[in-house]
Amino acid sequence: MKVIAKRPESLTQQAFHYCPGCTHGIIHRLVAEVIDELGEGGPAVGIAPVGCSVLAYEYFNLDMIQASHGRAPAVATGVKRALPDCIVFTYQGDGDLAAIGLSEIVHAALRGENFTVIFVNNAIYGMTGGQIAPTTLPGQKTTTSPLGRDTVLSGNPIKVCELLATQEGPAYLSRVSVHSPAQVRRARKAIQKAFEVQRKKQGFSLVEILSTCPTNWGLDPLKSLEWLEKEMLPRYPLGEFRTPGGEENGSL
């Protein structure tokens, strides 16, 4: 018998605090598996700012830094400039990256900083209890948009990959999802590619991963996956928005 699925070495034994069915856990595992594959070449430092994944330093069996809200790309810049041969990644949520930390992510991308961003987009603020996020869909109900997101009042959802793809700095930009086994495998490939881009010192890489928040969406874990597929995919199309070779594939 051959073990084909087990806990990756780059994760500790600590059980995740995430809610049942929250896909953060899947994404943690994918990142850890990819770091495992880097082997000796992959001494890694992870940076987790404020958000549901603020406790990521408990889970990744790596040197870890907990950072302030939105600032992980600046912290990662400081780490990578001091340790250019070390694999560095940030793990950020959508409120963190696309609201309070928008300046830091854009400028890290513009500078082409050679680290990898794992950007988890679940269209809501999870940790603080389900408030409207910059990625919340029009009409989506949250605790601070109880009647649904009114774009006149709260603006429109931000498309991070599309935004960054208008600029010259980034080397790799990809949006994936984890709502089905096939999509999880694709997400894993995108994460692999992003870390490979970094290992080859090709520059800034970001993988946006559409993720669920069953608790704050008010849906069970399965219905959450369906909602992600039905509601989020049309607004956040999957695909590669930038590759080092230039062979973008907007329809993965």
Binding site: M1, I4, A5, G21, T23, I26, P181, P214, P221, L225
Partner: protein, 74 residues
């Protein structure tokens, strides 16, 4: 093909989200009736002989509850 897989389920780590049950192509994963230490109804493999070891349950599990082994040549 059937009967080549072996699952080791860390029942007390399961949060009963049901994603593995939904995605199991053989439909052989079920919710266990007894609550686990966390207070959830954990997943359980009903018909051991039917598991092919495809690994989809582990792929979709957010909490790495399931370790999958597959027989050689499968």
């Amino acid at each position: 093909m059937a009967g080549k897989g072996k699952l080791t389920i860390a029942r007390d780590r399961c949060k009963g989200c049901g994603l593995c049950i939904h995605f199991c192509p053989k439909g052989i994963l079920k919710e266990f009736l007894e609550l686990n230490r966390l207070g959830y109804r954990p997943v359980s493999l009903e018909e051991e002989g039917e598991c092919t070891g495809c690994g989809i349950c582990a792929l979709m599990c957010p909490d790495m509850v399931i370790q999958v082994e597959r027989g050689e040549g499968a």
